[in-house]
Symmetry: C2
């Protein structure tokens, strides 16, 4: 019988934390004990895992004693403070926040792209930003054969990326509009119902948002190639689940749309959904609930010599967060613990 592990989910009551628990169960992760941790606000709550009710415990410095793996999805501040504490006690952290992603000591991992980076962990492994994960899953196979020089990406991001409170906000705003009541904005700066806005995370000095710069910096780190140029526009759309991306790439070596289709269809974690004749292309609804990154609308970029345009869709809570974290934990469990 294979080894079993004592596992914690930190931020267990959030949208991603919840999905982490579901993924551990679905993927039959070798769990010996499962500890669910959250802030005091969640005390008294119980969450289901394999038919059992597990009480949520308050996160503290002693939470990690005797554990081997902790999946964190509780925001940057919590990760900043508690991930090193867990690591110091021998509990390896897979962290979904942005706190540790660009730390040179911390591997930033998408299992389909750079699983080998896990080997050099020092107790913390970072889970990338959702919009970056699905993009690099689709682009890495192309980069390996044709070398990507430049990426231009515009995103269509679901509200679940902000968490359960934003899911509620879209629902409440739509209900208000349908009932001729006034719309309230609490989570977002602008109305999201029947609207789009190019504003995800905070604005930085260079007038890009932090979300957009994550797509630049995390892509380079995961693909292990700092020469890749990236320009991103990150846009929130009134969709509950799954992010879509319109991506234009320029490659050093010419690659045809047919070659890209063939290449991606046999690459891990991907499915090509692309038959324009029969009006087949992936949408957010198709990706939702699955772990596969869907790619369609693959065509030549007619504005440059060596270019491809494509449409990349994935469930931001699953592959974009929880599934990717559990996949990292699987490799960790199998090879390094």
């Amino acid at each position: 019988m294979s080894k079993l592990f004592d596992v914690a989910v930190v931020g267990a009551t959030g949208a991603v934390g919840n999905q982490m628990i579901a993924c551990l169960e679905e993927r039959n992760f070798p769990v010996k004990t499962l500890k669910l941790l959250a802030s005091e606000i969640s005390i008294g709550k119980k969450l289901k895992y394999k038919g059992k009710d597990i009480p949520v415990e308050v996160l503290s410095e002693n939470s990690f004693d005797g554990l081997q793996i902790a999946l964190f999805s509780a925001g940057g501040g919590t990760s900043q403070k508690f991930a090193p504490i867990a690591a110091s006690k021998g509990c390896v952290v897979v962290d979904n926040s942005s706190a540790w992603r660009m730390d040179p000591e911390v591997p930033l991992v998408v299992p389909e792209v750079n699983p080998h980076a896990i080997a050099r962990h020092k107790g913390i492994i970072a889970n990338p930003n959702c919009s970056t994960i699905q993009m690099v899953v689709a682009l890495k196979p192309i980069h390996d054969v044709a070398r990507i020089k430049r990426i231009v990406v515009s995103t269509y991001q679901a509200v679940s990326g902000t968490g359960q409170k934003a899911i509620n906000e879209l629902h409440d705003q739509v209900t208000a509009i349908m009932n001729f009541r006034e719309v309230e904005t609490k989570v977002y700066h602008r109305q999201i119902a029947f609207n789009c806005f190019p504003h995800i995370d905070v604005f930085l000095e260079n007038d890009y948002t932090k979300e957009e710069m994550k797509m630049v910096n995390e892509t380079r780190k995961i693909m292990e190639d700092d020469s890749i140029m990236v320009a991103a526009t990150a846009v929130r759309v009134p969709v509950f689940y799954s992010h879509s991306e319109a991506v234009n790439i320029e490659t050093e070596k010419k690659i045809s749309p047919a070659e890209v289709r063939e290449l991606l269809d046999r690459s891990p974690g991907l499915r090509v959904v692309d038959d324009p004749k029969d009006l087949i292309y992936p949408t957010a609804l198709d990706a939702t609930g699955g772990d596969t990154t869907l790619v369609g609308r693959i065509r030549e970029d007619i504005s440059i010599k060596n270019g491809i345009v494509m449409w990349i869709v994935a469930d931001n809570i699953r592959k974009g967060a929880a599934t990717n974290a559990v996949q990292i934990a699987e490799i960790l469990a199998e090879k390094y613990l």
Copy 2:
């Protein structure tokens, strides 16, 4: 007293036709008589113009006798057949369909960009595609000073671009979902409520959609520069009114974001809405009901030497269709009739 004209609106009962009537009234177009034309299905309907009820008449070959201007928004087939008939009777057509846009004999006009093209009309003037209009309004001033070599654009297009039936479809689908009823798709191939799909108009041989290729070909014709390279991804989003666009341009001459802001703010038909520090950027809701193209998120394209990224928003039914047509008619009336 200035000259008055006998005007027809063809397709008067549609979303754009309706807005054309409103624009004629709002802009105080020099109307002597207004004739509202539509297919037999609309017989018995009356529409308001300056407080009067005007009965809708059936479009026929004799509809244009004695008229000087006809604004068409009744689909390609109707324009194909009736625009030459109107023109042959001395009634100048401003046509909102795609039927005549790429005809070398027909000027394709955005008044802020190429008003001079109206002079060479032979009875028909084409109104461009909505997503192209707002893009060229924003890009022409930049092209004039820095020469645009390449445009990469991803759109976020409202359902009203498809017409009233698609507005109803989004409303009905959202209502169904909010009431736990099954969603019906009639107008679109896929569910639009809480979803996005990269499919507008039909797919062509090169796997681009017709909408995407309109943005390539119409941009070149209106900007009068066939050397501009364009790659577009046209995406429908669950928004009722106004199209948004994420646009990356590469220019021959370096131009800074500050210069672009200053340039666009003093160019016709534009307003710069761009102050990231104060979370100010334009959204679909801001553009709706207005005739101004709003531009924000202006920043350097950090992935190339001479590049700018921006976010362009306009009301697709007004500036993207009705207002642009009425603006063309205004120039026609003032200078050429």
